[in-house]
Symmetry: C2
Subunit: 509 residues, 2 copies
Amino acid sequence: MTPSPLASFLRGGGAQEAHGAASRSCSPQEILRRLRSAIPGCPVLSEPEELRPYECDGLTAYRETPLAVAIPESIAQVQEILRVCCALRLPVIPRGAGTGLSGGALPRSGGLLLSMARFRKILALDPLNRTARVEPGVTNRAISEAAAPHGLFYAPDPSSEVACTIGGNIAENAGGLHCLKYGLTVHNVLAVKILTPEAELLTLGAEALDSAGFDLLALFVGSEGLLGVVVEATVRLLPRPPLARLIVAAFASVDSAAAAVGKLIGRGFVPAALEMMDNLAIRAAEEFVHAGYPMDAAALLLCECDGPPEEVDEQIALAEEQLRESGAYFLRLSCSEEERLLLWKGRKSAFPAAGRMAPDYYCMDGTIPRRALPEALRRIARLSAEYGLPVANVFHAGDGNLHPLILYDASRPDELKRAESLGGRISELCVELGGVITGEHGVGVEKLDQMCIQFRAAELAQFHRIKDAFDPEGILNPGKAVPLLHRCAELGAMHVHRGTLPFPGIERF
Amino acid sequence: MTPSPLASFLRGGGAQEAHGAASRSCSPQEILRRLRSAIPGCPVLSEPEELRPYECDGLTAYRETPLAVAIPESIAQVQEILRVCCALRLPVIPRGAGTGLSGGALPRSGGLLLSMARFRKILALDPLNRTARVEPGVTNRAISEAAAPHGLFYAPDPSSEVACTIGGNIAENAGGLHCLKYGLTVHNVLAVKILTPEAELLTLGAEALDSAGFDLLALFVGSEGLLGVVVEATVRLLPRPPLARLIVAAFASVDSAAAAVGKLIGRGFVPAALEMMDNLAIRAAEEFVHAGYPMDAAALLLCECDGPPEEVDEQIALAEEQLRESGAYFLRLSCSEEERLLLWKGRKSAFPAAGRMAPDYYCMDGTIPRRALPEALRRIARLSAEYGLPVANVFHAGDGNLHPLILYDASRPDELKRAESLGGRISELCVELGGVITGEHGVGVEKLDQMCIQFRAAELAQFHRIKDAFDPEGILNPGKAVPLLHRCAELGAMHVHRGTLPFPGIERF
C-alpha cells in the first residue's frame, strides 16, 4: 500500500531539498529580522493566528505552518526577499490564491511562504493584438471580465476561476471545462516575466507564435513553482463565440457513454466542452441544484458547441445523431442562455454536491487516451468496491482527463489513508492505460510517488538537471513535483543496477 | 556592419564548443576506425566525393566538410555512435533532409555528421486516437499521405514538405502556410523519444493534453539539435476540412494591404492561411507560373478559409467585405479545387521565381506583432534602398512572420556580405518592433549575432544552463543557435559591468 503523500513529503522525499544548512544556523528571530529590514513596509506575518490561513492550499488534508508569510507588492520587494532567502538558503514557497489541489503551495515548516496576492493590476489590454499583460495575482475571471467589453475572453477556465490567480494557473498549467477546444494555460500564455531564485529578472516567450532560443516559456508553465516566481504574464485573448449551446445526453450504462465520447470526437469536430458525470455525481448534483438531470441515468454527457450560429446548428445536429447512435435515451438541448447556464450549474456544483454525501472527499486527476475511457471507468468501479469507498466520476471526458472523487470520512480510523491509497491506485491505472498521472492539478506533494511509476530514472534525472539549471541552491518550493531517485528506489518502482542508481552524477546512495 | 555569420561561426562564437580536446589528440584515421568498429555494417562515409553532398544544408552560401558522415538505421547504432563521440568529445551534427534555411545542419570541420535519413518507417497510425508514431527520417508530406485514407492530415506544412523530415521539423519547430490556424510543430507533436549525447533514451511528452513533470517536450522542440537526437515522434493528426476556398485580393499600396491583415483577424475568425506578396514577388511568380495574379498590384493578400461549407461561406463573406473596406480593388475567389491550387501555386513558387530575377537570394525570417506590419514593410523598403539590393516580400502575414527575400549577385565583390548585413538589420528591426528574430527557420549559424540583440545576458545564460543540463560535454551541434556571452559583448550588444559579464558562473573573460 502506498504510504501517505504527506508522510513521504515530511520525510523529505521530494525534489531536492535546499542544499545548504545555513538557515538552520540562523535563529527564526534572526531570519525574520533580516527579512523585515530588507523590505521595510512589506508585511511579514509570523504570529500563529496570522499564519493559520496559509497552512494549506486546496489539498486541505495536509497542513504545515511556515516560519513566516511575506506579502510584497513590487518586483523590487520580491527580489529583496529572494536575495535574503538565497543567502540564508531558506526555502521559499510561492503562493497565488492557494486553490491548487495537489498541495503545490503547501508551506514548509521553517520556510517562507511568498504570497503574490497583492500583484493584482491589469497592466495593459490590447484588443487589436488580442493580448492582456497582467500581474500574477490577477484572478483568472478578472482577465475575462476586463476583456469582455472588447468581445474577448481568456480561455482557460478552471472551476476555481473566480478565486484562482494567473500566477498559480501558470505554475500548475491549469485547464478547465473548455480546454478541449481552447487548450491549457500553456497554449494561452504568450510571455512571462519571472524572477529566478537569485532574483534575476528573465523574460520568457514573446508576443509571437514562435520565439527564438529554447522554449523556456513552455518549460516554465506547469513547473509548479520550482523554477522561478512569475511577476508578470502576457496572455492571449480570444473572440467570444457569438453562440454556445449545450446538449445533455443520458445513457443507461457508463460503458456506452464512455464509448460515445470517442465516437463523437471521431466525427471530426471538436466540441467546446465534453463532460461526463456518473450516477453518483448526477444524483448529488441534481439534489443540490435541480438542473433537470434525469436521476436514473447511469451516465450523462454534456456536450457544448460554440461558434457562429450556422456552425453551432450543424455541430448540434451531428452531435445529436452520434449520441443517439451511441445509445443516448434522453437528449436535452439548451434553448436559451439561461437554460445553458442552468444545465452547466449541475456539473459545476458536482464537487461541493458530492461533498454533501460524505464528510470528506478526495479529488483525483489523471489523463488517459480517449479510447481507454470505458476500461478505465470499469476498473475504477472495481477499485472502489475493493476499497469499500464510493467514487463519483465527474470529468473532462473529451480530453480523457479523469477526476474521480473519492468519498470518505476522515474521522473513521484509517479512512484517509485508504482514500489516498485508492487515489494512488487510480493514478497508477492511468499510467497503465497509456495515460499520465495529472491532467491539470499538477503533482505537488500528492503524486510524488506516482511520478516514480510515470517516469524512468533517466527522465527523472533530467528533471533534476533542469531544476538545477534554474535553482542550483534548491530553495524554490523544495520537496514538490519531482521525486528524488532514492525515494523511487525505496518504493521499488525503479530499476536499480547493482545497488547504484543509473545516474550517479545526480545522486548516489 | 555585422560580420558574416559564417566568419563568426568559424571563429567559434556559437553555443559552447566541445569542452575537451580529446578528439584533437586522436588522429582522423583512429576516429574513423573506432566509429567503424563500433557500428559494423553501418555506412561511415569519409571520402571527399562522398562528403560533398553533406557540406551544407538549405543555407547554401555556407559550406564545411565534416570528418565523416554516419548513416545508421537503428537506435542501437545511433547509441553506439554517440558513445564513441562522447568518449572522443567529437562534435556530432544531426541532420534530417538538410533543407533547413539557417544552417542548423551545417557540418563542422573535423566533426561527425549524423544522418537520420534511413529512419523512414511509419511505425503506427491510430485513426481513432488521431495520432501517428513515426521514425524521424519520415518526410512531412509522407505523414499526411499515410493519414489521407482516414480523412486525416498532419497540419504543419513548411514549403519543403515534400523533402523535409519530421526530425528536422522538430529540431527547428517548423511552421508553414497553415500554422496561423493549426499551429507550429510544437503544437502538433505529442511525444518524442530522444537520445541524449550520452546515449540515454528519454521519452518526452505523452499522448495526453498535459503531461506530468517539466514540459521537456516543448523545450526540446525547436532546440536545433543542441539537446538530443530525435529517434521517434508521435504526432497529432487532424481531420481534413471538408472544403477550402482561397480569396486573392489586390491592393494599390503595401500599406493598405498590411493594414488589412490586422483588421481581418480583428473580425474574429482565424483564416486557415493569410499570406502577403509584394509587387516584386507578384511579378516574379506570375511570369513564372501564370497563376492569374494582377501584375500591377502593389500587394496581394491570399486568404484561405476552410471548414464545413456553411462556415466557409460565412467566413468568405466576412473576409470579402473586410478586404473591400480595407481598399482591395480586385478580389478573386477560387471556385474549384483546381483553381485554388493554381492560385496557391503562384505563392508557393515565389521563392524559386524570385531566384530567376537575380543570381542569388537570401531568405530572411522574423516575426513581428501584426499591428506593426505596415511600419515594418515601409522600413524594409528603406533598408533595401539604403543597401541598393532589391527585397521581395512573400510571407505569412496572418501571424506576422516575415520572409524578406534579399536578391543579390554573389559574383560581385562584397554583395554577399552586404546581403547578410541587410539581413541582420532586418532581424534587428523585428526586435525593435517588439518581435523576434525567427518565425520558423531557427537561429542556426545565421542569426547568432541577432540573438545578442533579442536576449539579455541573463536569458542567454539560462539557455547555456539548459544546454549544460542536457549536454554537459557540449558535443551536440556546437556553435549553433545560442551565442556565447563574450561574442555578444564583443559585438557591443550586451551590457558589461566593470569588465565582467553578469554571470561569471557561466563564463569569465
